[in-house]
Structure formats: C-alpha cells, structure tokens
Amino acid sequence: MFKRVLIANRGEIALRVQRTCRELGIETVAVYSEPDRNALHVRLADQAVCIGPGPSTESYLVIEKIVDAARSTGADAIHPGYGFLSENPRFVDACEAAGITFIGPPASAMRALGDKVSARKLMETAGVPVVPGANDISADDFETARREAERIGFPLLVKAAAGGGGRGIRVVEQIDDLEGAMRASGAEAASSFGDATIFLERFVTEARHIEVQMMADQHGNVRAYGERECSVQRRHQKLVEEAPSVAVSPELRQRLCDAAVAAAKSCGYANAGTVEFLLDKSGEFYFLEVNARLQVEHPVTELVYNVDLVKQQLEVASGQVLPPLEGPLEPNGWAIECRINGENPYMNFMPSLGLVERVEAPLGPGTRFDSMLFDGLDVPVFYDSMLGKLIVWAEDRELAIKRLRRALHDLLIAGVDTNVPFHLALIDNDDFLAGRIHTNWLENSFTMPALPEEDPRGLTALIAAALASGMVASAAPAASGAPSASRWLRAGRANVMQQRVAAGGGRGWRRGTGSS
C-alpha cells in the first residue's frame, strides 16, 4: 500500500479521497490554487502545496505543477479525483515518467475510451450494444454527414468525438439544421478539446441514463457494482442520482453488469470506472461512454453495496487482487444523492456565490453529506457551482425519499442561494415518485413551482429582522454623542456587543417568556 498520496483535486472530492487515506493511515498531500488556500482539503492534509492562481488552466490543470508537487513532497501515488486531469492520458504518462503511481486506468485504456468514436468501435467488437450512428466525420464534411444522417434517421445527435460533460452536443430535428449543429459542435469541440472531429448518433428519445460502476484490478479481474439511475438532468448535467434504478430488474441488472465487464476487458481497463448506457422505453440498452474515473455520484453505489470505492481504488492501484465475486450482486436498500449547487432555482438557476456564512449539515440515520462547505467559506468563482452532495440510504425507495425530504429541510446554508428548493419540489413530483423519468423529463415536463405568495417563513423573517435590528441598535453606546450618526452606522458596533457577551462569560443573548 502507498505511504503518501497526492490528491490532485479540490472541493468535496479532495476531502472524500483524503478521508479514506487518513483512515488507512496513508499520508495525504493537498494541492491548492491561491483562492483555495482556506479550503478544508488544505487544512486537513499532512502536506500542502500551492500550485498557482485561481483559473484552473494555471493551477489544477497544469500537469508539470502537480507532478512537481508530488516529487517534492515524496508522494508515491496521485489520486486525480474527477474532472480536471482525471481523464487526461498525458497526465498518466507524466506520472509514470516520474515514477509515481497514477490511481486510475492506464493511459492506453483512457486513450481508447476517451475518443468516443474509437470507444464505439471497441464496444462493437466486444459485443456491447451501441446506438446506431456514424463515426469519424470531420466537422466541415457536410456531404458525408448528410448521407449518414439520412441513414440513421431523425432526431439525431451531433457529438464531439473528444467531448465530455455535455459539451459539444447538439440535437438535430431535421436535415436543414444539420450544418449549423455541426459548425457549433465542431467549434465548441475545437475550443474545449482542441479536436473538431464529430460523430452522429441516433437520438434515443425518452431514454433513461443508466450507468454501471465497475472496478478492475491489474490481474484481469473485473467486478460490476450494479447500476445507478441518473436520468434527472438539466443541460446534460446530472442533478439527482439513485441506486438501484426502478427500471432495472435482476435479469436486466445481470445483462448490464455483463456488458460493463466486457467493456472494461475490451481495453485492458484497471481501477474504477463507469460504463454509461441509455435504456430505452422497450428495455433495450446501448453503450454511451466510459467515464474513466471515480464519479461524483459514486456514494450511492457505496451505500447499497457496502463498499468504499476509494479504498478499492487504492488497493487495486497498489497491485492487490480484487476479492472474488459471490453470486449475483443485488443491492441492499436504496440510496439517493442530490447535488447541492450554488444557484437560484427561482431565477432560472442563476449561479449564486459568495460568502457562505453558516452551514448546518443534516445528520441522523442513513444521512451523508459530502461537502467542501464550512462557516466563512468564500466560494471561489473559478470552479463549478457544486457545493456538496446530500446522500441518503434507507431500506427502500419510498423510505429513502422520505429521509431525503427530512434531510433537505435540516440542511442550512446561509449566504448563498442553493437548489435545495428544487430538490424538495422534485421529490414531491408524481412522475419522480413513480420513477417515470428519462433524460429529457426534467427539461420537458418539470416546472419549478413559483414561490408561495403567502409564505409563513416571511413572517418569521420579519420578526427575526425586527429583533435583530433592536439588538443591533441597543449595542451602540448609550451615551452616544452623535445623534447625526444613523442607526445603521451605529449598527456597526453590534459585534462589539457580541464580544462583550463572550468576554463576560455569558452564553449569548436571551430574552423571552420561557423562563418567567
């Protein structure tokens, strides 16, 4: 096992990986950009290295800086987390050249899978079903594209061969829109990934996004940990994930797992990976892509299979053999994850960021909150808007949803807007409750309910504000000889009172009827 692991990431995933390392007695090295100096993953690490300014292109995405940090701190392995360099084969090569173990798949498997076109071909050979489509089209070859499009049929998707995270994808409803979509997709792909190659794929409508977690060791053993349902998406970004899926029977689960294992074996995969499938209305599934890393939504699998996936990643990366499979792998209970994003669901999900003044994480049975938040965190503007993940486990789906509702109400994040009201509305929706969802369901069929006009919370807010302003005013010195100073200037002295209370050994401020 490794002695010291550098975690080449930030936010909740850096903490997640760090926690397992610390439990296993492995020392951790954190890397951080300047605005992340105060982040929890920095504070809790054994060593920390600053790798540059805020923009990730100058810090978390710079291979040389990460490898140098690993070398100078004597790390013997690097865990990439998700995003950033996690699926960059050049990073894997650089680690290898420096004699540092990369905790993830080999570069060769990454290259084979990272290009969506070569991945499709691999899967076809391995007998894994793929969506009907056309590979390897240059973004300006409209003639070939038009011919292939007629064969595939509409609607279809134009995708960037090197794409990911929903970028470079366009839906084309009719032939006239094909050229525009190719130009847009090609340009986006060229700027995001430096490669304008595209491919066409039939748009399987009303399909579910079902993915299988797999884990492979370096000795050819591959194990699949059932499926996750990730159909609740907006702009191709997942918002809620669950395990298992209401749409998957034990028989289908077995076929999905077999396909995932075949996909892993087709390219000499090792370590954790996710094989994504589309599951159509008739129950047919098609290979979508392999995410060659640990995923955001891995905790739901951990909870229903009682496994620490990060621990297994460390074990297989250090050469250990995966424990053998015993019988059909059925999930235990039900787990659901909500991504808690800093955005306002009442204002078209506009990003909301700034100072998080107060956080109270939900606790209690079956409740897990993986988050980078703490009181006083100033959320940096350079990274994505995910603040944390609320994950619950219960015996069945109905109980898990009830637990989720309770936990969402228990979560307090003051200072920024979050999508918690969206999650609460979602889990009250009849279609969601019945599991009648597909990847376009949220955008096509779900409407965020408006804020209630008569909201009793408003009354509470008014009362609290009135009491607060009274308190703030009374904190000003009584003999204030400055009548011209406004109350609100004097309010600046409120903190003085707080300190006075603390210095006096009091436990706070209390007035009321309770004690009389």
Binding site: H409, I463, A464, A465, M471, W488, V501, G508, G514
Partner: protein, 175 residues
C-alpha cells in the same frame, strides 16, 4: 418599551412593533395580533431560535448592506429598512436604475461588447460575466448611448458593482 420597525420585504413595507416588558417580548406585524415570542440567539450574525405561540422556528440572521438577510427553512429573505433610498443595486434581482448597469453576480468579465459612445438597443448584450463556468450575458434594458464602461475584459467584478453607464434615449439622466 415598544420599538417600531419599518421594514421592507419583497418590495412591500411592513411595520413591526417589538414590545419588551421585563422578560416578556411581544411582536406585532402590521395589523396582525400581538404574538408572544420567546427568543434566544448568540447575536448577529447568528441563529435566532424563536418560539412563537408554542411553535419553535429558526432563522439565521446576518447583516446585508443596510438591512438583514434572514434564512428560514431554505429560503433567503432580504429585509431592508423602509426608509427612502433603500434600493438594492443590481444584486438580488432588483432592477438597475435608469442609466446604470450593475453586475447581477460576482465573476470575471470575459467579454465587453460596447465602448463609450456606442449606441445600444434594449436587449443587446453589453458584456458577459463568467462565474462557475457559466457565462451570463448582461443585456441593455433601454435604448441609449454608452457614457462609460467601468470594467474591463479579464477583470473581476463584485455583485452589485456599477459596470456601465449610459444615456437613455428621451429620458433625462437620473440625478
């Protein structure tokens, strides 16, 4: 001793009377009945635990500009003083004053499409602010002519910062 507070919530003015007599606190909101409130808190910013007529509720209160931000069960309220001039600039979805454009959110300016002297039309994109990998187009609310641009490409802006001034057509500048 009773204190009257005139507060602004969601654009509506409310009068809240807090009556403290010894240990008893009673609060009256608008024309409503007086509510016996038991309150305990560590201060501002801080959590206010209120027991109103036997029902406990919690509010997290922090100062925001001249008012307070109060978070109650997942909803954030801005409660400001209802004295004139209490307009919120740009921030929190409030409308900009005529002739001014403020940043609706903090971020990095990734594009500035106009310069001083340019003619602009309502709905036209003036600049783009990127935050959390999302690009937010800031559009003109009125027709007019740009007087000054107060931000530059690549620069960082705070929420509510004045980023652009313009002379709106047919309307005297708000002075």
């Amino acid at each position: 001793m009773a204190t009257r507070h005139r507060l602004l919530l969601d654009g509506a003015e409310h009068t809240v009377v807090v009556d403290e007599a010894g240990d008893q606190v009673s609060v009256t909101v608008g024309d409503g009945e007086a509510l016996a409130v038991d309150v305990t808190t560590s201060g501002v910013p801080g959590t206010f635990s209120l027991v109103i007529g036997g029902r406990p509720v919690q509010a997290y209160v922090t100062r925001r500009g001249q008012g307070f931000e109060v978070t109650v069960d997942g909803r954030r309220f801005l409660v400001g003083p209802a004295t004139g001039g209490g307009r919120q600039r740009g921030a929190m979805g409030a409308k900009d004053r005529m002739g001014e454009v403020t940043a609706p959110l903090a971020g990095v300016v990734v594009d500035v499409h106009v310069a001083a002297g340019d003619r602009i039309t309502a709905g036209q994109t003036l600049l783009v602010i990127e935050a959390m990998k999302m690009q937010n187009e800031i559009q003109a609310a009125h027709d007019g002519v740009v007087k000054a641009v107060h931000c530059e490409k690549g620069g960082r802006v705070e929420q509510g910062a004045l980023v652009l001034e313009y002379e709106a057509d047919g309307i005297e500048a708000d002075s």
